[in-house]
Symmetry: C2
DNA sequence: GATTAAATTAAACGCATGTTTAAAATGTGT
DNA sequence: ACACATTTTAAACATGCGTTTAATTTAATC
């Protein structure tokens, strides 16, 4: 599924053979991910990425083709883990006799936390990438998600309808988008919020705490009669 | 409160004397507002604004000093109407004996709709401007709002606490930010959503409908025990 | 070890941005 | 009508961006 320029044979990927230094591709991908999650896609320049990754400016276009393609590659690395995991969790809910909204949203927790396998703070990074993907107008990302994982999202919608049979299609439509808004915003402004919270309430806050609060909130909003 | 360059005497503002054409300042302000609300602050260039306003490129810097100052002037025009109106509505709730969350959020409705006095679609524009102000990193705008209208926002927080005495400070903190997120997102993605909704449900959607749905949703999320 | 393919590099390209400059035009007060 | 302040204008400036080019270095293949 990788969109990388293949250049005939693509044997020596992933890790440089003799050196203990990761390959140029991986260095770009890792640095881009870190900076994208920190500042957003548009705010991060290729010069910034290549400088911090200690690779040549032109290598991004050589290996990925364009900045857009690099963005997609960064996001795809998480999507390819998250979406199948979510899919499995949602399937587990199909047999549930008395399905609740909270159950549906809690099905997100394991897939989200599994992203910490990709990176130490993978959950946080993924959600922030997602946030920027929606708040900046990265139409190509939305289209990619829709076409690659549209079936999973439809499954989600069906389960929410089952948990809230009294809600009209129209109401569900709006509320689901509000849910998305609260989620995205929480992540994009997340770091600032965490710092404020830390100062104000004098206790440690982490991404897990935020997600717990968020799930309760969005379930409450969505279930409102 | 205007940050405009005064240049000694500032007599001939607002409207050009002999011509029936609005002054350069007003033309810039109106066009900038329209484009900012449509595309966001960063996505809108001064060249785009001045071209559509039919004024010279340099006049923005002459009259406003910088793009940042122009952004602030555009937002301030709405804030200066909205915040006092909200303040008054909130004061009206001080004497309420059994205050509910829904009441607090419904206090936003009149101030919001009053913005249609500034422009035909003032409510929509204001909310979208607000959305971009938060989703783009316009730190100076956040600081301006906080310093100019911080007292009103604190009043709001106090009322919400009164309506939800069982909610801890910490929970209120998070939920209020989720509320903000849902609101902002609804507006920034608003036009796209309205069009989707129109196509999907085959009926007319306007900003008022969105706000009605939103208020119910956020009240539900915030009240969740 | 020669030959080919892949990867890296420094430099430039083309374009767009916000801002500044200095001259010209317009308006104002006496 | 003059002198002065204000506004408008066209042009250039400085900077940053993504991308492309062409030469060089490195790696793989026979």
């Amino acid at each position: 599924m990788s969109n990388l320029k293949s250049h005939a044979s693509d044997a020596p990927s992933s890790v440089r053979a003799s050196s203990n230094k990761p390959s140029t591709q991986k260095r770009i991908l890792d640095t881009a991910e870190r900076l994208f999650a920190k500042e957003g896609f548009e705010q991060t320049s290729l010069r910034q990425i290549t400088q911090e990754a200690d690779v040549n400016l032109a290598s991004v276009n050589y290996h990925f083709g364009s900045k857009k393609a690099l963005i997609q590659a960064v996001v795809a690395r998480y999507m390819d883990v998250f979406m199948p995991a979510l899919d499995e969790e949602l399937r587990g809910l199909d047999d549930e006799s008395a399905l609740t909204t909270l159950q549906v949203f809690e099905a997100f927790k394991l897939p989200l936390f599994s992203l910490n396998g990709i990176h130490k703070r993978g959950t946080e990074r993924f959600l922030r990438l997602l946030g920027f993907a929606y708040s900046e107008t990265q139409g190509h990302l939305r289209r990619y998600t829709q076409s690659a994982f549209g079936n999973v999202l439809q499954h989600l919608l069906a389960l929410l309808h089952r948990a809230n049979p009294k809600l009209s299609d129209e109401e569900m439509f709006w509320r689901l988008h509000f849910v998305l808004g609260a989620t995205v915003f929480a992540q994009v402004s997340g770091q600032a919020l965490i710092e404020i919270a830390r100062a104000e309430f004098n206790y440690e806050v982490n991404i897990k705490t935020v997600i717990e609060h968020l799930i309760v909130f969005i379930a409450g909003g969505l279930e409102r009669p």
